[in-house]
Structures are given as C-alpha cells and as structure tokens.
C-alpha cells in the first residue's frame, strides 16, 4: 500500500521561478548522511593506503643479515568475522547489520595487507595477512547493504529509508559526530597582549598524513621569532631563513616584501643576527637548541636539517629540495604578521568558516589506525626478531597480532574516546524518531571547552549561512558549540593538488622560485592548499579562467578558487586554491548580467529526471562555493532582488536551515528562539522511528499508534522522508482558556479524541540475560526455577514463564514479575562445597522494574562469546494521561492538564469540538505567529482536502491564507463563534480555531510518577536511597528547608532531616564522651574506656554523624561528646 503522493494534493503558492526540482535532485543524489559515508569510503579506498605508505617497512638487522618486510598493498575485504566456532561468518552465512544488532556483534571487515620479504638480496613471495578488523559504516561501499534495492533491504531486515552512516559496535549503533577543527595548512594571524605589549602572531597548522605540526611566527617589538617543532626555544626568523638556504640579509628582506615600511620593520632584526652568516652556522644555531644539544657538532647540524626537512611545514613537502619553498612560506607568514602590526590588515577571524574544517569518519578512523598500526608493527618487529633468533620458520600470519588494531577500533568507537582529551566522538545513535536520527548524523561538535564562555565561538557567524543551521543548537552549556549541517551544506572531497598544478602553470602562473622582481612587487601570490607556490600578474582573469575549468566540468566542482585583498591599498592580492577535503560548500546559481543561468528549461528537465544535479555542476549553471570563495561572490536571496552586480543567486531561500528546523512551517514568522526550541523538541517526538521495529530488539523505544502526515507541510519534509515516518498528529486546536485547567502551559484535551486513538503510543523495553559459561563446564541455565532454588521469590512471580525459562508471547507482566528465568551455580562455590551444598542452584532471574506490559517478542541467540542469550521485548500500551507532554511545531510545549468529556468542551456552530485547548497567554510574549498561520492553513487544508505548503520564505502570507479560508465559507481570520458545552450559551468572544500539528513528546508521566513513604536505605549511610528506580525518597532540598526555617517549623525540620532519614541511637559515656556498645552476651552496655559499669546514656544522632565519629577515631582523633542534660 503506497502512501499518498503529497505533491498531487499540495496547495502551494505559485512561484515565478521555482527551483524546487533542483533542490530535490540535489538531496536525492547526495543523501543525508553523505558526508560520513563519503569520508569513510575515501578512507577505505585511499586513506588507509596512505597511512600504510608512511610506515610500511620493517627492517630487521641481524649479524651478517638484513631482512626487510615491506607492506606492498593493503585492502579492506567484504564484511566478515570469525564466528564463535572459528568458522568465517560472512554475508552468505548471515553476517548482516540486522543480525549484528540482534546478536550484539560488531559489524566489521578484515584489513588485508600484502607483505613482501627481502632477504640477502632476494625477494620472496608476497604473503596476504589479516592485520585487523575495521568496523564497517552501514551503507558505505563495503557494506553488504550498499546498492541494494528497497525490496532487498527489506529482506535484509532493514528499514529501506535508513540513512546509514553509523557503525554497529557490540550490537549498538554508534554515530560519529563530526569535529569542527581549525583549518590546517593555512596561515592565521592574530594579535595577543603579553604584559601590556602587543605581539603579532601568524600561525599555521601543517598537516600531512599523520604529521601535525604547528609553526608560529611571533613579531615582537624588536625581534621576530619562529616556533619550530622539536626545538626547545623559539628561533629568530633570520636564522631559520639562513638555515633554509636564504643566507643574504637582502634576500631575506626581499622574500618578505619589497615595501619599505615592512623592510624597515625587518631591518633591526636582520641586523641583530648578521653574525650568523652562513647556512652551516644557522643550522648549528638551531641544532644547539634541540634535544641533541650535547652531541657532536655534525650530529647537531643533522638534527637541525632533519627537523627543517621533515617537521617544518610538512604539507609543503618532505626532503631538502623543499627548503626554498618553505623559506618563502615562512617569509610570507612574517609579512602578514608585520602587516598586521602596521595596521594594514586585520587579524584573521578564527570563527569564519573559511578557517574551519570538519573532521569526519575517515580522518578520525585514520588517526586510530595510524596509532594502532605503529604498535602492531612494533610488536611484529619484536616477534620476528625473536623467531629469527630461534631460527624457526617464520609464518607471518601467526606473528601478526591483528587484535591490536581490532580492539583499538572497537574501543574507540564503543566509548568515543579518541585521545585522552577528545572524548565523546561517537554517540549512541538517537533513534527516538526518524528526524532525530537524521539530525544526529549531521551533527557537528566544536572541541572548545564547554565550561568557558567563548562568546564569539558560540555565535552564529555570517559565514554559517547555507553551511550550518542557525536555528538548531542545544540550550545551556553546549549552546553554539554543538551545531548541525544546513540542508544545502555539501562537504568537499579531496582532489590531488598535482592535477591542478599543470592547469595553474598553463594559465600563466609563475613559480615562486622563478618569479621576477615585478611579480614580487605587485603580483598576486598563489596558494595551493596553503602552499605558497607562485605568482600571477592578473589575479582576476587568472581566477576567472580557472573557474572556467570548473564550470566546464574539467576539474571537480568542490575546488575553491578565491581572491583576497584584491585592489586593497598596500596589500598584495592573494589567490587561494583549495582542493582539500572537509570544507563546507554550498550550491549557488550562477548569475550573468542579472539573469540566473539556471533556466526554466533546466528546471523542467531536472524535474523530468533527464538532467542530474551533478550535470548542472558540470555545465557551470550551479556552483559550489566555500566560505573563502564567498568573498568574491554577491548573492541575491530572492530572484526579484537580482541586479547587474550580482554574481550568484540562492538556490532556494530556505536551504540555510538544518533538518529539524526545516520541518517548522512558517518559521520565518516566529521569534527566533522558538524555532530553536522546536528544533530541540522535534527530536523528542514520538512517531515511527524505523519500519523494522518488530524485528529489532532495542533496549528502549516508542511507537506512535496513528502517526499522521501534517496537513501543513514544508517541502523539505517530504524530501527527507518525514512523511513516511511522521512524528505527530493533526489536532483541532482552539485558543481559549478553560477553567484554569490550561493555565501555565497546560493543555486541555478532548477525552473523546483520546478514546478514538489520539496520541496513543507503545513503549518497548528489552530485557537481556546471558547464560554465562563458568569455569569447569558449569553454566547458567534458562529454566523456570523450582522452589528448591536459592533466592526463590515465590510462585506468583514466575507465573508467565514456560519450562524454558522464557515467558509466552502476550503474557501480562507486572512490576516485580520475572521476565527471564535463569538459574546458575551459587556465587561462592567453595563455601557451599565445604558445607556439602554443591548441588544447590541459585536464582539469577531478571525481573520487571517499574512498569506493566505484555511480552512482545522473545529472541534466543548466541552472543559474540558463544553464550546463550535471551532477549525479551516488553510492550506497554500508553494512553495519554494527565501530565503527558505535547508540543506544537513552534516551540509551544505543554502538559495535559485535563482530559475533558466531549459534552463539556466548547463547540462551534458546525458542532466541531476541538481536540485541544491551548491558553491564549501562550502567545503574546512568545510571538509564535507561525502557529497562527499554520492553524489557518491547516483549517483550510482540512476543509479543502488538501495539504498546504508552509515552507518558510516562499509560502502564503496571512492575507492569502485568509482568502483561502473564506473561500471555504469560514471567517478569514480563523475565528469562530463558539458555544460553551456545559451551558449551551454562546461565548462573548469569538474563538480562534484551526488545525495544528501536535507532537507527543517522550516525557510521560508513566515513566516519572513516583512517591514513597517508607522504603530502602543506603547501606553505608542508612539514609533513604535516591531516584525512582531505587524506590528512593523525595528530598527536602536546601530551598525547601529554608521555607521551614523561615516559618520557624523546627519540629518539621528535625522530623524530615533526622527522624525520617538516618536517626540512630548511640550510647555515649558521660565520663569520656566516646560511644559505647551493647555486649549481647552479658546484656550490658559497655564503654570502650570505662568498661561495663560506665555511665552510658542514649543519644539520638544522625547515622552519618556516627560515621564521622568513627572516621575521626580511625585517624587517631578523639571526638568527645559532652552530654549536658538527659531529657
């Protein structure tokens, strides 16, 4: 049964220039978790090889012999692991994501390395060795689900709409949250204040492979320092230049700039280090400031050379041939810092998205892989050496400890700990509803500390437009640090820069080394991925011609070509070409002469499926622009705004919103924080999280009984598939008070509506129990425990169990009933053996906590260790009740305050009884005008039998909606004459009634209701336990206490804080003030000091106080209690 085609029934405001089919094509082609999947694929195909390339050689030097092992190739196979019995478990034998989730397995694939041995001048045959398992990203290229059709996916037990992009580790789904990093390989300048003097800093984070090194140039009052990795102190700039081979002072100055003002700044610094006159002297100077300072001169110099060649700017290149290029890059950094000092340029904006990159699955996994590979190879080296000494035949596959890599990966993904500082990289995938899953996969986390204010970093930045959703961010300490990708955001993929290099040369770039004076003076500097490679004389034409290549599809669309500082007084123009990955791009329509290149013809052909989005990129109609290139772009938001000056037009005005913000109809009419609240709340709404809910055994989950597609749609909703997995219901909502039952954000709900199925839901919870294999062939057993079993809790509790210890389907279970019956050997086996009780069994059954439900599904399976595991899913039927939380799509949340009988509810002249009454006070201060518009639009939609388009920025306004409503014979403002159901009399005021989409949120009274009179106490302190799950007490907190203090109700305080908590009676010796004890044998109270005849008096104290006394005594402190008066 197919669902309704929304488009056929959608009433939309006609647009002159409607680019929707293109947007649709874009999202359909790219998918919603594309960034992660792309990044992962890139890692599997290329990244993993690059890391192997860095450390592929194991050299073993033995007396008279040299053995070299070389990893010549590495690849990742199809998902496969070893099953418990040692046999390979692959796709054919059922190693698929659905099974991994059920059995608690890790979904992984083997990494196979080809290793070649060279010994004594001979090359031996290559060996294929499994070096570990890498977790497989669901729906990546190596996943078994890749490229499967809808029907096949269903056969594989999947929801066909599942976006993929997460991992399955030990049966639980883990999503990687992308990390937001400062861009590597680009110069960033800043001003710092060090004790009242300003210093000017240019910094670069140079990254190549697993090398990550910071280089900082600090321009101080009369010196310039460079911080180089592995040196103990900062090195003066002229010395580094000299060490790199630019020896003459004049050359150094010229490398920096030809402008007098700058040279003037440089002059004193150059003068200062004139004495270091040769390259060798400079190298020694640096070598003296390294760890090698105590070693012979030649060693010191070599050390310096090594550092400069490998660790200084590794992104430029590794090796001595790159020294000159590095010198020029360093001079460039100095130039910028001096320009900053002279006030010619402003410090770079660290929060600008041009200076940000995302760290996605690929590089993150690469980090783990590189680390674990090193440790594996170290281990292998040791093992080979050992076996070589034993002269035994070396079988590589026995010596490779593949578990090293496997465990590292599993541990990192299961816990989210990457390094000691970076934690929380992976999170349990949010499966509350479809929307929350999508949003989770598009989340971005900033590594900045959450405790410090960092206001700038948290604010919405202009460069976020179209890249980061300005609406969706959590409230509280993470505000602005946790972000989400906008709908239009496309993350760039890497393209080899050498492929661009030829084009640059062809288009008239002159290499740095070959540049003449004229270029140095006035040419534009060209940076390719942060590497200063050359000059061009006319940057604007150069850049336009380069863009021409991109627009003709000759180079990928995600390459950024930008000019900065063009035509700026005193500054030299800079051309940036970026082919790096993890930049966020956004699509824009190109505009020439005030006319968009994307024509109606294009749109029509895209709509017909004859033209793809990627084709539009190839023909240069649409361009992908990153934050840096956006400096060269003038974009119009709406086509009507286009002028001759515009270069680009927004693809669609609502695309700058993220996934969750896009589901808010008429969002542009709401006060902005309300949209943020809704973006957070939509992720808590109940709906259909996935269609394979009957097959899955998730620990917790909700399912809404009758989810509905909203009558008021946004176009994005249908596109992301939310209409197939809706999260709420359309309610008839009247805005009026009702006898105080809806004050303070409560809502009144019509009981008849609830009777008919409104907001009913199911709650699922899975209980799990494993029959553990103990040593000596003893194991737990699933069975219905008999009366002879230790810890037996009574026949009644086991009534739902069958002989196999598992409950029958649809069995009703209540709190305290046994869900899974299991027995096992008693805990302390030895003691029982001594007592001759070895036969006895102990009950290890799992009992139901807190709620009442029926058995939905029982699964018996083997876990990854081969132990029998029982999973029992319990289902509870939840009918809305007082206190359940509901919310509209405009950040208007409330709790059910009353289920009113239908005859008491107000009704309209047509006899319509609202489903929900919301208090008018919810609106004036919150200004959620969008809800009014939705209400009117929804009312029209319901009357006309149509869905109504409420997409922000391009939909109807108030007057349009009024006309539509009036055409259906209703008052255009949405108000109606209403009558009081209790009296039959007309209300004096007209009531605003309409249809609003409401969500039931997962905060329900059934999960939270709790009260206790007497109950369990903690063992240590004897105070009542805390929390509902432990049947805990309700705390009289500090503020509550203050009420009683203020009132002078001292007896209540004493009762609550002492009598109703941990009161104990101790016996205090009046002579010594110590606590006595009761000697049970002699039935006498005894003082530890004065013996049995001491004068002991009973004193009521808090047990915690008694503990304090004991603790003091243990520290040899004598706590003495003086008893003044015996009451």
């Amino acid at each position: 049964m197919r669902r309704l085609d929304i488009k056929k029934y959608l009433v939309s405001k006609p647009l002159e220039y409607d680019t929707w089919p293109v947007v649709e094509a874009m999202i359909r082609e790219f998918g919603l978790a594309k960034q992660h999947i792309d990044s992962y694929n890139e890692f599997i195909e290329k990244g993993i090889k690059e890391i192997i390339e860095e450390n592929k050689i194991i050299k073993i030097i033995a007396p008279n012999d040299e053995i070299i092992y070389e990893i010549t190739d590495v690849r990742v196979d199809r998902p496969r692991i070893k099953d418990v019995d040692g046999s390979p478990l692959d796709e054919e034998r059922g190693y698929i994501p659905a099974v991994c989730r059920l059995r608690g397995l890790t979904y992984a694939a083997p990494i196979i390395a080809t290793i070649k041995r060279k010994q004594g001048g001979f090359e031996y045959i290559e060996d294929n060795v499994e070096i570990g398992h890498i977790p497989v990203m669901v729906k990546s290229k190596i996943c078994v689900l890749h490229g499967k059709s809808k029907e096949e996916l269903i056969r594989y037990g999947e929801d066909p709409n599942d976006p993929g992009g997460y991992f399955i580790i030990n049966g639980s789904e883990r999503a990687i949250v992308a990390l937001e990093d400062l861009a590597s390989n680009s110069i960033i300048t800043r001003v710092e204040k060090v004790s009242n003097t300003k210093v000017y800093i240019s910094m670069i984070l140079s990254v190549k492979g697993s090398l990550r090194n910071h280089v900082t140039v600090t321009v101080k009052k009369n010196n310039i320092y460079v911080t180089i990795p592995f040196t103990l102190t900062p090195i003066p700039f002229p010395i580094v230049m000299k060490a790199l081979g630019v020896v003459k002072e004049g050359e150094i100055a010229e490398a920096v700039s030809r402008r007098e003002e700058i040279i003037e700044e440089l002059y004193p610094v150059l003068k200062k280090y004139e004495s270091v006159s040769t390259q060798e002297d400079a190298l020694l100077y640096i070598g003296n400031r390294t760890q090698a300072a105590q070693q012979p001169i030649e060693r010191r110099k070599n050390r310096a050379r090594h550092i400069l060649d490998k660790y200084l700017f590794p992104h430029v290149g590794i090796g001595p041939e790159y020294r000159l290029r590095k010198a020029y890059l360093l001079a460039e950094m100095v130039r910028r810092a001096i320009e900053l000092k002279l006030g010619w340029r402003n410090p770079d904006d660290r929060d600008h998205y041009a200076n940000k990159r995302l760290r996605l699955a690929g590089p993150l996994l690469g980090q783990i892989f590189a680390k674990s590979l090193k440790s594996l190879l170290k281990d292998l080296h040791y093992n080979i050496t050992k076996y070589y000494l034993y002269k035994s035949r070396i079988q590589l596959s026995y010596l490779v400890r593949s578990s090293k890599i496997t465990h590292r990966f599993n541990h990192a993904l299961a816990t989210g700990t990457w390094t000691q500082r970076t934690t929380g990289v992976t999170q349990m995938l949010d499966r509350t509803n479809y929307l929350s899953t999508l949003s989770h996969l598009r989340r971005i986390q900033s590594p900045l500390s959450r405790s410090r204010p960092q206001f700038e970093a948290r604010e919405v930045h202009a460069s976020h437009l179209g890249r980061i959703c300005p609406v969706e961010s959590p409230e509280g300490q993470n505000i602005g640090l946790v972000k989400n990708l906008a709908l239009s955001a496309i993350v760039s993929n890497e393209y080899p820069p050498d492929k661009i290099y030829g084009i640059l040369m062809e288009e008239g770039m002159v290499k740095v080394e070959e540049a003449d004076d004229r270029l140095w003076e006035s040419g534009a500097r060209v940076f390719l991925n942060g590497d200063f490679i050359g000059f061009v004389s006319d940057p604007m034409t150069f850049v336009e011609r380069l863009r021409g290549y991109r627009r003709r599809g000759l180079i990928p669309p995600d390459i950024s070509i930008a000019v900065r500082n063009y035509n700026k007084d005193k500054l030299v123009p800079e051309v940036y070409i970026e082919t790096s990955s993890a930049r966020i791009l956004r699509p824009l329509i190109r505009v020439v002469d005030g006319k968009p290149l994307l024509t109606h013809e294009h749109i029509r052909r895209v709509a017909e499926g004859k033209l793809k989005f990627t084709d539009l990129l190839k023909i240069g109609v649409i361009e992908l622009i990153d934050a840096n290139e956006e400096y060269n772009v003038l974009t119009a938001f709406f086509p009507e705004e286009l002028t001759k000056d515009h270069t680009h037009l927004e693809l669609s005005p609502f695309l700058f919103l993220g996934i969750t913000a896009s589901v808010i109809p008429f969002a542009e009419h709401n006060q902005s924080p309300r949209n943020s609240y809704e973006a957070a709340m939509a992720k808590q709404a109940l709906g259909i999280p996935y269609t394979n809910i009957r097959l899955r055994m998730d620990t917790r989950g909700h399912l809404l009984e009758y989810p509905q597609m909203p009558i008021v749609q946004t176009r994005v909703m249908d596109l992301i598939g939310l209409n197939d997995r809706p999260v709420g219901q359309n309610l008839v909502v009247a805005i009026m008070s009702y006898e105080s039952y809806n004050m303070e954000d409560a809502v009144v709900i019509n009981k008849a509506a609830v009777d008919r199925g409104l907001f009913r839901s199911f709650f699922y919870k899975t209980y799990e129990s494993t029959a553990r294999l103990h040593g000596g062939g003893v194991s737990d057993r699933f069975e219905k425990p008999g009366e002879d079993v230790k810890n037996y809790i009574g026949e009644d509790a086991y009534r739902s169990l069958e002989e196999d210890g598992l409950p029958y389907l649809e069995a009703k279970l209540e709190k305290g009933d046994v869900v899974i019956g299991k027995t096992g050997p008693p805990r302390f086996l030895v003691e029982y053996e001594e007592a001759g009780l070895t036969e006895q069994k102990r009950d290890y059954s799992t009992t139901l906590d807190q709620f009442t439900g029926v058995v939905d599904r029982v699964v018996l399976t083997l876990d990854k260790e081969g132990q029998l595991t029982a999973l029992v899913k319990i289902r509870e039927h939840r009918v809305p009740e007082l206190g359940d939380k509901v919310a509209s799509r405009h950040g208007q949340k409330g709790v059910v305050g009353l289920l009113a009988p239908p005859e008491d509810m107000p009704y309209t002249a047509d006899g319509i009884i609202p489903d929900l009454l919301i208090n008018p006070h919810a609106f004036p201060s919150r200004m959620t005008v969008g809800q009014f518009l939705e209400s009117i639009a929804g009312k029209y939609g319901a009357l006309a039998g149509r869905f109504v388009d409420g997409t922000p920025f391009i939909s109807y306004d108030y007057e349009d909606l009024g006309k539509l409503l009036k055409s259906m014979g209703f008052e255009p403002m949405g108000t109606e004459v209403m009558y009081d159901g209790r009296t039959g009399k007309k209300f004096k005021a007209d009531i605003f009634v309409g249809i609003v989409y409401y969500q039931k949120l997962h905060h329900m009274v059934a999960d939270k209701m709790h009260a206790r009179a007497r109950g369990p106490v903690q063992i240590l302190t004897r105070q009542p336990t805390e929390g509902r799950s432990r049947d805990g007490g309700l705390r009289i907190g500090d503020m509550e206490k203050d009420v009683f203090v203020a009132y002078g109700a001292s007896s209540i305080i004493k009762e609550r804080l002492l009598d109703a908590s941990d009161r104990t009676t101790i016996f205090v010796c009046t002579k010594c003030g110590l606590e006595g004890y009761y000697d049970a044998r002699n039935r006498k109270l005894v003082c530890p000091v004065h013996g049995p005849d001491a004068p002991l008096v009973p004193v009521n104290v808090s047990y915690a106080f008694k503990l304090l006394l004991d603790e003091l005594k243990s520290m040899a402190i004598y706590p003495r209690i003086y008893v003044e008066e015996v009451i």
């Binding site: 009777d755 006899g911 014979g969």
Partner: protein
C-alpha cells in the same frame, strides 16, 4: 417569560442520519441537556471484551482491540442489559476468523460474524487491518451496552449542536453598488436582489458579524437566545428518534430522581436563620 406557553418546535431538515430542529421559547439549558445526554448517556452496543487467539498482523493486540471497539454496531432497542436492568442478555458475542492465503488481504468490518442478526457492523467497509500472505486472525468479541461517558465508542451521535438563532436586521436601505457586506460574509448569505439587500439562508449564519463590521450603520446581527437551533448527526447504532426519546426519558428520570430525593429531605425549622 410565560412558562410553557408560546413555545414551538419546527423541524427544519431531516434525513436518516441528521436532523435540525428549531425550538422557540424553550430555555437553552433544556435543549443543551438533551444535547449532552444524547452524546454521553444514551446506551448503545460496542465491542468491549476482545479475546485474541491468533493475531499475526502488524498491529499489536491492544491496537487491534481498540480498532474493533470503535466499529459501530447496530443496536436493537432495549434488547440488551444496561446497568442494573434485569432479564436481558448481557452481551452479544461476535467473531472474526480470517486468514490471508496467497495474497495480501484487507480485513473489513463486514468480516465480523455476529451471533445476533440484529447486531451487525453498521458500515461494512471499515478497514480493520491488512494481512500479509499467511497471516491470520482468530478473535472472539463481546459487545456490551455502554455510554459515551465511559468511552466515545458508545456515543450514538457524532455532531450535536445547540446554538442561538441569528437575527439579521437591515437597518436602512443602502447604496446597493457597494456590496462590501455581501462580500464580507463567508457563508454568502447576503444577496442583492433588485437593488435590495436580502438574507437568503438565515440558518447558515453563525453570527460572526463580519458584515456588521463592514457596514455598522446598515446591518445589525444578533443572536436570539430565546430560541435555539438544534442540529444532530448520528453514528447510526440507534435512530434519531430513539436517541431523542431516550434522551428525554433519561432527563425526565433524572428530574424524577431529583424530586424523589427532594421530597425525602426533612426540613428542619431551626435550620433556617431568622
């Protein structure tokens, strides 16, 4: 107001499942009582106990039972026991046994078999659940009498309205070319006939006063609260007549109960302050 005199009842419109009546000079409270009682106190039959022996469908047992409960059943008048009535059967037993053999099959209300010929699902094309090949249902149900107060499934009416009768006064002749008031009315009640403003269908007017807002000097809209317009649409378990007479019976018995109780009350002289 002279009690009991001058009142009139006029049926404006009637069909099998709906009626509208104009009551004149009867207190709205009484008419509203009828509305309230007919909604929630007239007993009908509905499935209440469901015994599920087999359910392979995608719907959980609770949801299936809920759907079955909401199916309206034709209710023979006074045949089944409600409350403490005696000598009547307590429930009707119904059953639903079905299996989808080789193809998908939608289960409809008509698939429900009843033990009593007079009790049957009113609308046979209500979809209950869709079964995949091989899935089946085996369900036994008891329908019992109940009222809408307990659960909406027992309510015999869908829409029931008591509202005031609109009175549209045209105060003076106006320039008939302006048409502002005519256009303002969402129900299109006002028309200009031969240059005169006329009201075409008075009872459609809800009293929204949009026309009055446009031309306050020429039109005045009021609601006559002494008369009421009573409109009812029913589900169909009982006929409109039965529902209305039952409602009156219940109202009268309530008043009788009240009177009986009142007469039993002893009046103490001293209780009244002097």
């Amino acid at each position: 107001m002279s009690r009991g005199r001058g009142f009139s009842i006029k049926i404006l419109d009637k069909s099998d499942d709906s009626i509208s009546i104009l009551f004149k000079n009867i207190p709205v409270e009484i008419i509203n009582s009828i509305r309230r009682i007919s909604m929630s106190e007239v007993p009908t039959l509905a499935i209440d106990k469901v015994f599920i022996f087999r359910n392979d469908s995608v719907l959980n047992d609770q949801m299936l039972a809920h759907r079955l409960g909401l199916i309206p059943l034709k209710t023979p008048v006074d045949k089944y026991k409600y409350g403490d009535e005696e000598g009547k059967p307590e429930y009707v037993s119904l059953s639903l046994t079905i299996e989808a053999k080789n193809d998908f099959r939608t289960v409809y209300a008509k698939d429900i078999k009843s033990n009593d010929k007079e009790v049957y699902p009113l609308y046979e094309d209500i979809e209950i659940v869709r079964l995949a090949p091989g899935e089946g249902l085996d369900i036994e149900m008891w329908a019992i009498m109940g009222t809408g107060r307990e659960h909406a499934k027992w309510s015999p009416v869908t829409v029931c309205v008591v509202r005031g009768v609109p009175v549209i006064k045209i105060l003076k002749e106006c320039d008939s070319n302006c048409k502002k008031c005519v256009e303002a009315c969402p129900k299109n009640i006002l028309k200009i006939n031969n240059g005169k403003l006329t009201v075409t269908n008075l009872y459609l007017c809800t009293g929204c006063k949009l026309c009055e807002v446009e031309c306050p000097d020429y039109i005045k809209v009021d609601i006559d609260e002494k008369s009421s317009l009573f409109m009812m649409e029913i589900v169909g378990q009982l006929t409109i007549k039965t529902i209305l007479t039952k409602s009156f019976d219940i109202l009268i018995s309530k008043i009788d109960d009240f009177l009986t109780k009142f007469n039993e009350v002893e009046i103490y002289e001293d209780a009244i302050p002097k």
